[in-house]
């Protein structure tokens, strides 16, 4: 072995130290925010002089925060569902299709991943103003769908490529119509791909800020927008509490995603 960890000598310690630093750099701000959300200082002093849950009480008693959280959740949930449905249909065409321009179409679907989000946001904003759906729930969903769909397509086409089409053919010869075969055999067989597509789509929408800034109206805000707006007005520890909730749901979903991957391997 060229790079055997046990044969690196004292380099092992250097390597360990670098890893620890990188981990700390990534994790500390998050832990910091979580700690502050439980601290009793109005001025976000660290380390907190005492501990309290009052910021959470304030958060949960303020209808504006609850509205924003609920809007975020609704948008993310609808985006997740639509992105899985569209992602499955698109993946069927991209994986099974034999038409010309398939590679081009795939690139086209994945383009929002590499496009600067701001450019996308401005383009969508202009279009949505013209369509009259800027600042509406539909606008939010469509905008987030654009950036979530590539991830859904990657997850679902990956699963579909690993699924032998002969299995679907077998279901058809067994008497199932082509769509019945897809629903009863193909979909359950690639459910791990559908799950990850749903979770990633949800998360992408759940913590998205840039598009949301353009889509938001005073009456319709998502949680990240509410955090950002509040941050600019007054620096309250409620923000830390809201951020902690964002993080909690994200971590929960990541763990769920990890479990579905594990389940697939068994």
């Amino acid at each position: 072995m060229l790079l055997n960890f046990h044969m690196l000598g004292w380099w092992r310690w250097a390597l360990g130290a670098v890893c620890a630093l990188v981990a700390a750099f990534l994790l500390l701000p998050i832990l910091f925010i979580i700690a502050l959300s439980f601290g009793d200082s109005r001025w976000l002093i660290f380390p907190p002089p005492g501990w309290t849950l009052k910021w959470y009480e304030e958060l949960f008693s303020d209808p504006r925060w609850l509205d924003a959280a609920f809007t975020s959740f609704k948008v993310a949930a609808v985006v997740a569902v639509l992105s899985v449905i569209l992602g499955f249909l698109a993946s069927m065409a991209l994986v099974r299709g034999t038409f010309r321009g398939r590679a081009f179409l795939r690139g086209f679907f994945l383009m929002p991943m590499v496009m600067p989000v701001v450019v996308l946001a401005i383009a969508l904003y202009a279009t949505f103003l013209w369509l009259g759906i800027a600042g509406t729930f539909v606008g939010f969903v469509l905008a987030h769908l654009v950036i979530a769909l590539p991830f859904a397509i990657i997850a679902i086409s990956g699963a579909l490529e690993g699924f032998d089409k002969s299995i679907e053919d077998a279901a058809i010869l067994c008497g199932a119509s082509p769509w019945e075969a897809r629903l009863r055999v193909t979909l359950p067989s690639i459910k791990h791909g559908l799950f990850s597509a749903a979770i990633f789509s949800f998360l992408i929408s759940w913590d998205e800020v840039v598009l949301a800034i353009f889509m938001a109206s005073p009456r319709l805000q998502t949680l990240p927008i509410k955090v950002w707006g509040t941050l600019r007005q007054d620096l309250s520890p409620v923000i830390a509490a809201a951020s902690t909730l964002l993080i909690a749901l994200t971590v929960a979903l990541m763990v769920l995603a990890a479990f579905t991957r594990k389940g697939k391997k068994q």
């Binding site: 053919d169 077998a170 279901a171 008497g175 199932a176 019945e180 359950p188 067989s189």
Partner: protein, 362 residues
């Protein structure tokens, strides 16, 4: 004339400029075990896929009891199929896999249970109902696939090289099972394989495919003893081909002259154009080794190699002009005793056991 049970009527299938099958014409009786034998790309699988409805023929028709199948979509053809690859539904247990065709047919629950039980018994899979496909061996999975394909009593069962992924011993075991299931159910089976041994072991009749056409249809012994073409002679069983000239050809027999001047007379002749160069086919177990020319046709040869293969001894002999002939003798046969590479001897055969073909253009 009565209507054939299954009639593959002049099927032709082209993919762009490539002709996959051409004028495939076959009548299959009810309950028959018919094998499509041929090398890969010979059109045998294409024909099967047209029967299954996964491909549409460019021309021709498929008639089941006199009625065309082509207008019926795959899922309504009521045909059973076992695939080359493992096609069990991975998220369903063995029992649910076998029940699937009945569930999509909205069969009442108690009948589903009864039929699944019977199909699993037929495939000798009792007690496997709750197993998941991922926890089964390849051979077991193909047996479940067989049970699933038979549970709804299809009139025709298609099998597309179902054993090609299994090792030789397991393959023979399941071939035995397939034969038994064929006998017990009486289902008409169309079986695709490139393995001539498998074809000979299983089939009532074999259709030999080559380059999209059927070269010959017949029972195993018919194909082996009177091959209609050079290709069939070469593909079914081992054989040696010696080049020669036609000196006479008529009425189904021919006289030939070899390069060393040896002449043989009255060889059974197959195929057209009996002029010019000829090839004489000899089966390795029909050849005798003799010290002196006897009454039958014979040819002087030099022993090139002797290989012990367990129950048989395989001998490679070379003609004076350098072509090789394989000879197979039972182990311990007196003709093999005292032979060594380099020995000069004669090969001899019965006139009727050889076959003459017009030489193929190279």
């Amino acid at each position: 004339m009565t209507t054939p049970f299954l009639h593959i009527n002049g099927i032709r299938k082209t993919f762009g400029d490539v002709v996959a099958t051409d004028h495939v014409e076959l009548k299959i009786a009810e309950g028959e075990f018919m094998t499509f034998l041929g090398p890969s790309g010979s059109g045998k699988s294409t024909t099967l896929y047209i029967l299954a409805g996964f491909q549409e023929p460019t021309a021709g028709d498929i008639l089941l009891r006199g009625k065309t199948l082509l207008k019926t979509p795959s899922h309504k053809r009521n045909i059973g199929m076992v695939f080359q690859r493992y096609t069990l539904f991975p998220h369903l247990s063995v029992g649910e896999n076998v029940a699937f065709p009945l569930r999509v047919r909205r069969t009442p629950a108690d009948e589903v249970q009864r039929r699944v039980k019977r199909a699993l018994e037929l495939a000798r899979l009792q007690g496997f109902e709750d197993r998941m496909p991922a926890n089964m061996s390849g051979g077991q999975q193909q047996r479940v696939a067989l049970a699933r394909a038979l549970v709804y009593d299809p009139p025709v069962l298609l099998m597309d090289e179902p054993l090609s992924a299994l090792d030789k011993k397991l393959r023979e075991e399941i071939q035995h099972e397939i034969r038994r299931i064929h006998q017990e159910t009486g289902v008409t089976i169309l079986y695709v394989t490139h393995d001539q041994e498998e074809a000979l072991r299983l089939s009532d009749r074999i259709a030999v495919f080559n380059k999209g056409r059927i070269e010959q249809v017949g029972t195993g012994p018919q194909l082996y003893n009177s091959p209609a073409s050079h290709f069939v002679a070469d593909f079914v069983g081992d054989s040696a081909f010696l080049t020669a000239e036609f000196t006479r050809a008529s009425g189904g027999t021919a006289d030939l002259r070899f390069a060393d001047g040896t002449e043989v007379r009255g060889v059974p002749l197959h195929g057209a154009d009996p002029k010019g160069r000829a090839e004489l086919m000899l089966r390795p177990e029909r050849i005798r080794l003799v010290p002196q020319p006897g009454a039958g046709p014979s040819l002087p040869v030099t022993i090139a190699d002797i290989t012990f293969l367990g129950n048989v001894t395989s001998i490679l002999a070379r003609t004076s002009w350098g072509e090789e002939v394989g000879i197979r003798l039972p182990f311990g046969h007196p003709m093999a005793s005292g032979l060594a590479p380099g020995a000069q001897t004669q090969i001899e055969w019965d006139a009727a056991s050889a076959h003459a073909f017009a030489a193929r253009a190279h």
